[in-house]
Symmetry: C2
Subunit: 631 residues, 2 copies
């Protein structure tokens, strides 16, 4: 088939070591197998990054990929994905962010930006349609991500330029650094992708594009999209999400034991949750709503904090659910202003809020247990509940100041540096601090965290939406699940992970789609719109199979880069310590009950954890099968 | 047994991240199993560096270990070994150097110095007996290794201080950087250990010690050593080595096809070899002889180069055999002054001469074949035979200037950066540029390069000394070998590798011992002196078995850190392109003929390359067996 669609085909390569730029076209067969965007990028990473290349090696690739549909009429597809080898895990890395940057890259004419090498001096890439320049970033190095974003737009004399950049954390190769965009209000935060960008001496990627993204059948697409948009506008649930955003969930999640409290030791035991919720305490700082490119849902929060200690600039965005948990409930900080300030600092410095909260929680527990003291922390007392410490330590991490330098390496490395058995308080999988949903409260999350190619990442397949669904998802055929039961949870994790891979490849925002927040936007509709735009006829089964294929490419990368079966596990705390109170009281993550069935369903070897040859071949991943099973 | 010996028991730990110092005692059982020095250090590295820690990770350990006997009356044991994870290979790394530093560390009271972490600002470690300080090195950062050595001694006001340090190459985390000592005249060069030191922001380790190294039976040791020393003085062969050093071998090695010519493409076809030999052209610059600590052989050369382009400082040391090959015959540079100058620059900048010559040879071949041009090299023409280019490019590599920045990453990475099929001209195994002995000329070297845990390192078991022996080595029971035949070569590699591991652990200089250069210093005598000093009764078989044990610990580290069976190979050029002329004409490395027998002898799995569980257990490496075969 010669696809009439314009998407998922053009690669822009920039080699910062040699200062070379190259344009290529993606092989059409990859579009068929991997849908687009991060799906195709996973295969490109597999092919180009060898196991002997370190994450911080100049040879590591930093791939930016919008979704396949990004830049089309289709709503809620504004995200870009950053695919690379992670300096936290040493394995496959993904981070993604919403905003306007992804669409702009498409308009400039590129579906993939692949960066390799390391610039000798700080640089940024300026992409203006066909013109590509590697420019000096010496004027911007040392600025925070928001300052740099602004300065670059100013110096280019075009406020429509979209900037993705790193803050000081990325510059300092802080392993929990992310890559920011949209004036540092959006973050591709996870897996240490900002450290990879920093290791390349790359401050920013500025983009301006005037093109359009072609689709196979624009007339039909227009009709269907108009219909969908009108439904979204009239859907109560969607509008509720618009009104309150993700921070609407923190109170309920703390209640149920899903959101961590006190470094995962005291779930359900935190009175301050309503202070972090919207509506609730969050309303005190709420100052507006913002959308991503072509998103009728619009869930982004603008906040305004006026408080001597925590004042923020005008127009900055507020903490999302994950941040309310990571910097709030997990640290027992109930002051939403402190959380919002720390969130904004993370954005400016370019830090992953989940990992930042996790390493601070780790440090606070070590301190309270007497395993570290003021000699270690440079005189700081680290106490749960202390918003001031949160804000101060965030800065120290970004600048690698004093004890912040230890935490800047992430929880696993911080524990290995401190020793003394502190490893058990570092809550991570494969080196990545886990997302803010407790697998003890939703059992299938145990499989997502334990078996994810990227380590403990909730975005690899957030099962809570089908384990305790706000409304039924008929396509998944998973009705009647009980969140504390392990029954059918292997199947649940398998399906949700595959779905999320496929949806992401197409470009769908998983907050709007697939999580039940924009109800009319069903999976069936997701696939339908993709097919119209792409000129393809993927069935639900084929779409899901493409998701399975993508998941296995990521898994194969991780196994090839050294992961072992024994790393498919969870922190001891989640396996052994029951949730102490609330509706999930007494529950532990019963991973072992689910793992064998999950492995079987995935077609993975139970001894090595490696995808079996037959399954890889069945998924048309013959070259990977050959590579993994080479003598 | 409670050993009466004082050696191989004391560890000094320095954590540069936290600024902490700790002293420990090595478990006695390790001495029994691993002899001492690098033998024990291999096990410490295995236990402390996890596969997820990168080579340039602050958590990587940089272990300095003199041999077990270093600092005793026993002659020719002046070497120290640097054990770490290699940034070139990602696997086990060893580099070692002679001089006076190792003995000084022993006199200060330490058998092992284990450095972890990363200093926030440039630092050096000052070890004065029991007093340990981490000091600022900001005054020395940017100096070359010789300047820094001198400045530190001056500032400490004690010229007897011994310094090991890095030059600018290590500071710039050049992956082929080494660690220098003795006024930058001696180098622990291989495997990129200097980049590890640079990544820790550690400029130098200055040592002063006033203690003594206890031995079990000093009276008997004294008698035996006096006898040995007198024999060494009267041995013609030993005295020849004293008179001419290792550079005495280059002419013969080029002739036989052992030393590489023109990036391994034209062995035996280089008329300039006599110009590099001593006696021969080398005599023009020869200006003296120097010894390492307590070494009656004394093979170090002092040179004096007076030539506008290549003048060197007074008292610097001259190129050894490996350097005469790497910077001479391999590049077809016959001007000994250019080679001596480039050698001295490598020493000052802290570069591995073998790897430096190898990447330059790679670049010259790429240039001459038209795969790179002046646009790539910044205007330089790269021609074989051009001494000026050698000198200029050496500097560019150390400072990562222009095209030097590409080469600074080592041959494998340089080829991956350039692409265009240049990989075949990067002559390395597992990322390490191979030593200067061609496996096509001595077949067992193929096994040493292909299967060494450290990549293509000749010091992992240099078989040429038994494949074409200058005199018989009765203990090895390997008489009658033919160098171009593969007959009994598995056995040869197996025995020589085990021997070299054991001798190194004891501290014996492999140039003086085991290579036939100091004839009276037989293996039997090596073991006898070790037993007297240690109060042990190791038989030849037990000594060799300890060597096998050490080799397998190193191998296990490398396999655990991701190596595959398929990496036990050689560059295609050595497997496919016959030596074009001379006594080895027509020969290729016939690795496949030897590998199965070698694997069987080693007790390694033929599919995975992993040491088999049974063999590990037989070698009393139960914990490693458990670890490698953990589910």
């Amino acid at each position: 088939m010669t696809s009439p669609s314009g998407f998922s085909q053009r690669i822009l390569r920039v080699d910062l070591t040699r200062g070379k730029v190259k344009k290529e076209v993606v092989d059409e067969s990859l579009v068929k197998l991997f849908i687009g965007g991060p799906g195709i990028a996973a295969k490109l990473l597999y092919d180009e990054v060898e196991p002997w290349m370190d994450a911080l090696d100049p040879l590591n690739r930093l791939i930016f990929a919008p979704g396949a549909l990004t830049g089309t009429l289709v709503p809620c597809v504004a995200r870009h994905f950053v695919i690379t080898k992670s300096p936290l895990t040493g394995y496959f890395a993904e981070a993604n962010a919403g905003g306007f940057w992804a669409a702009e890259l498409k308009f400039a004419g590129y579906d993939f930006l692949i960066i390799s090498g390391r610039s000798q001096t700080p640089a940024y890439i300026w992409i203006q349609n066909q013109s590509i320049e590697i420019r000096s970033a010496s004027d911007y190095w040392g600025l925070d991500a928001r300052e740099a974003d602004r300065a670059i737009r100013r110096d280019l004399g075009d406020d429509k330029v979209k900037v993705a950049d790193i803050g000081q954390a990325g510059e300092n190769i802080v392993r929990i650094a992310g890559i920011m965009n949209d004036s540092a209000n959006r973050a591709a935060a996870r897996c240490g992708v900002g450290a990879v960008m920093g290791s390349k001496n790359l401050k920013a990627i500025a983009v301006r594009g005037d093109g359009e993204v072609r689709v196979a059948d624009s007339a039909t697409l227009g009709t269907e999209v108009r219909k969908l948009n009108s439904e979204l506008k009239n859907d109560e649930f969607t509008q509720n999400f618009h009104k309150y955003g993700t921070a609407n969930a923190i109170e309920a999640c703390v209640y149920v034991g899903d959101a961590p409290v006190r470094n995962w030791s005291s779930n359900s035991q935190f009175d301050g949750a309503p202070e972090l919720n919207l509506p609730g305490g969050y309303a005190k700082i709420s100052a507006g709503i913002r959308s991503c490119y072509n998103c009728p849902v619009a869930c982004r929060r603008v906040v305004s904090v006026r408080n001597e200690a925590y004042t923020t600039e005008e127009g900055v965005e507020g903490p999302e659910y994950e941040t309310c948990a990571a910097l709030g409930s997990m640290l027992m900080v109930s002051d939403i202003k402190a959380v919002a300030k720390a969130n904004d600092l993370c954005n400016r410095y370019g830090l992953d809020t989940i990992s930042t909260g996790s390493v601070i929680a780790f440090a606070m527990e070590c301190y309270e247990k007497g395993l570290i003291d003021k000699n270690d922390t440079g005189g700081m007392a680290l106490r749960f509940g202390d918003g001031r410490t949160l804000v101060d330590l965030t800065k120290k991490i970004a600048f690698r100041e004093g004890f912040g330098n230890v935490l800047a390496e992430g929880a696993r490395r911080a524990a290995a540096t401190i020793g003394k058995g502190t490893e058990i308080y570092a809550i991570h999988v494969k080196g990545l601090e886990i997302g803010m949903h407790d697998p003890r409260a939703h059992q299938a999350m145990a499989l997502t965290y334990a078996c994810s190619p990227t380590g403990g990442r909730h975005m690899e397949g957030e099962t809570i939406w089908v384990e305790a669904p706000p409304f039924p998802v008929p396509e998944m055929n998973l009705d009647g699940l009980e969140r504390l039961s392990t029954k059918r949870k292997a199947e649940t994790a398998f399906k949700v992970q595959n779905l999320w891979m496929a949806l992401s490849a197409a470009g769908y925002c998983l907050l709007a789609c697939a999580t039940g927040t924009a109800r009319p936007y069903t999976i069936t509709r997701n696939i339908q719109l993709y097919n119209i735009a792409n000129g393809s006829k993927l069935s639900f089964e084929q779409f899901m199979e493409a998701g399975e294929r993508i998941f296995n490419v990521r898994r194969a990368f991780t196994m090839r880069h050294g992961a072992k079966r024994s790393e498919d596990t969870l922190p001891q705390r989640l396996l052994k310590e029951p949730i102490p109170a609330g509706p999930s009281k007494g529950s532990v993550a019963r991973l072992d009950e689910m793992l064998p069935e999950y492995y079987e369903m995935r077609g993975w070897d139970t001894a090595s954890g490696m995808p079996l040859k037959d399954r890889l071949v069945a998924l048309e991943l013959d070259d990977i099968a050959k590579d993994l099973y080479a003598k």
